[in-house]
């Protein structure tokens, strides 16, 4: 049976006249990895801050395991683990000391705290450097220790804000593996990330937030299946993808055109795409095409479609923006 561990209703945050989060609502089920995606400034961090007690709620409610996060913040905080977007442990303390201290903040007693700290240092692969100062850790090690600090008290839900941003590929891979293991162990995860591939790999369900509003919530599989019903073709050009986008948008307005970068252009349609007339347009306009290939739609495409792809999506009659 699916149990909602987090229920958010009409959550709103206003700063003066500016509405950062506009009456959002969603639920997170116990044991799932819930992705919360959106462009920069969409309201992801503000939402996490409201749920965790770091920002005041203007309107609405949030319940964690039945506890009112707005009115009983301190009770709710006992059930939360929080990993902010920046590692904010104490630089002068060692990895072990940081974990021991964080355990104490949640009221863990001496032996329990020490045992848990040692256990977690092993889980995150930092036992070798347990007695080195946090300041001496690499970024990846810092992130791993910050995650360990977030789960020291075995929280019901772990809020992770951009856990792999700014770290090397190997560390990011280790962190993803760690998060999957944590989730297998029963920890519910609420994740925001810029990396859509990461969300695709980790999240069971995803909510897209744009300009403070949730525009889509679905299972990751559901999102991908819907997108894969159509077809996406990627064109690689030696240059001039924006001009090509304008020309092709005008010639084939029934398709969704997307300029990925200066040399890449994508077209998506809910049905099969007839490539021959498109190729003719490339040839007739002397557009420098050197490759065309059908690609499997990823969460990135879906993200761009859902969030509007304001900067790059081709609009009917509008040309490339």
């Amino acid at each position: 049976m699916r149990v909602d561990i987090l229920r958010v209703e009409n959550l709103t945050k206003r700063y003066g006249d500016f509405t950062a989060v506009a009456g959002i609502g969603f639920t997170v089920q116990k044991g799932e990895v819930f992705g919360f995606l959106g462009p920069n400034g969409a309201g992801k961090t503000t939402t996490i801050n409201m749920l965790t007690g770091l920002a005041r709620v203007t309107e609405g409610s949030a319940y964690l395991a039945g506890i009112d996060c707005v009115k009983e913040t301190k009770r709710a905080q006992k059930l939360m683990g929080i990993v902010p977007d920046e590692s904010n442990l104490y630089p002068e303390m060692t990895g072990y000391e940081n974990l021991d201290f964080c355990g104490a903040l949640y009221g863990l007693e001496g032996k329990e705290r020490r045992d848990r700290a040692h256990e977690l240092l092993q889980v995150v692969g930092l036992q070798e450097v347990a007695h080195k100062p946090f300041a001496a850790y690499s970024r990846g090690m810092k992130r791993r220790l910050t995650i360990a600090a977030g789960i020291i008290h075995k929280p019901e839900i772990l809020f992770l804000d951009e856990p792999t941003t700014g770290i090397d590929v190997e560390s990011a891979r280790q962190i993803r593996k760690m998060l999957l293991n944590l989730n297998k162990g029963g920890t519910t995860i609420f994740l925001t990330t810029h990396y859509l591939e990461e969300a695709e790999r980790l999240c069971g369900r995803i909510a897209f937030i744009v300009a403070g509003k949730i525009v889509k919530i679905d299972t990751t599989r559901g999102l991908l299946e819907k997108a894969q019903r159509g077809q996406t073709v990627q064109f690689s050009l030696s240059k001039g993808s924006e001009r090509a986008g304008e020309v092709l948008q005008a010639a084939f307005p029934e398709y969704d055109w997307l300029v990925v970068d200066g040399q890449t252009l994508r077209v998506h349609s809910g049905k099969a795409i007839d490539l021959l007339p498109i190729m003719e347009v490339f040839r007739d306009n002397s557009l420098a095409l050197y490759e065309a290939r059908v690609i499997r739609p990823t969460l990135e495409e879906i993200f761009v479609q859902i969030t509007g792809g304001e900067q790059r999506k081709m609009r009917a009659g509008g040309g490339a923006k």
Partner: protein
């Protein structure tokens, strides 16, 4: 019980990370020592040393507590590690008491450095040490909470120091240490009675020399009132400005 585990851990962390660091220990000793020497050098006789001892103790507490607390809290706020404390399931009052307890202890120790030096030069017999300890404690609490108020009002370490000095130096001149309050121009006297240092210094004067001119009970009450006021405004500021 769980809250006290957190309280003790925060206190212990601050003592280790800030107050017991060699530069701060030496600063904690040198600063009161400098005050002590400054006054003792200009003193003409041992009697003078005893008469200035309350003022030197009070200033050591004021400068020791406010400097350290304003820096530590502002520093943690900038590095965002203070957020970790705000996100922990600890009542804000207990959290801030834990954050300030290290500075209070630091202020207490600072206060007795001039006493140690004075003990080599003059006879300290006849001093009511119980009252001295109580007044040092209450003055350390008040000064620490004053430092807290400054720390939650600013966002940069240098602002904290500048802002502290803006209040601390006038306080030193107005509290009756350099010039007896009765000898101040009449328009400045109300200001003297509006600052906590005056009451702390007066209790110390009474306990050490019997020279205080305010009621001791009233002075203790006023110090407690200032402490409560500073602490309440500080926690209110944190709720309004840091939980935004």
């Amino acid at each position: 019980m769980k809250a006290w585990i957190a309280f003790y851990s925060i206190f212990r962390k601050d003592m280790r990370n800030y107050y017991l660091k060699p530069p701060n220990i030496s600063w904690g000793i040198i600063f009161p020592l400098a005050w002590t020497l400054m006054f003792f050098v200009r003193s003409q006789s041992p009697v003078d040393i005893r008469s200035i001892l309350p003022g030197v103790m009070a200033m050591s507490i004021l400068f020791g507590t406010t400097s350290m607390l304003a820096v530590t809290i502002t520093f943690e706020r900038r590095s965002r590690s203070f957020e970790r404390l705000l996100l922990a399931p600890i009542d804000l009052n207990i959290l801030m008491l834990a954050k300030t307890s290290g500075a209070i202890l630091f202020g207490l120790l600072n206060a007795f450095i001039p006493v140690v030096f004075a003990s080599f030069l003059i006879n300290l017999a006849g001093i009511n040490w119980f009252i001295v300890l109580a007044s040092v404690f209450f003055l350390a609490v008040t000064s620490t909470f004053f430092g807290l108020l400054i720390a939650v009002t600013v966002s940069e370490v240098f602002e904290a120091q500048t802002f502290s000095n803006f209040f601390r130096f006038p306080m030193v001149f107005l509290c009756g240490l350099f010039v007896p309050i009765q000898n101040l121009p009449p328009f400045l006297r109300p200001l003297s009675y509006a600052i906590p240092l005056t009451y702390g210094a007066d209790i110390l004067k009474t306990a050490i020399n019997g020279e205080g001119h305010l009621g001791m009970g009233l002075s203790f009450l006023i110090l407690m009132g200032f402490s409560l006021l500073f602490f309440t405004i500080s926690t209110k500021n944190i709720k309004e400005k840091w939980i935004y």
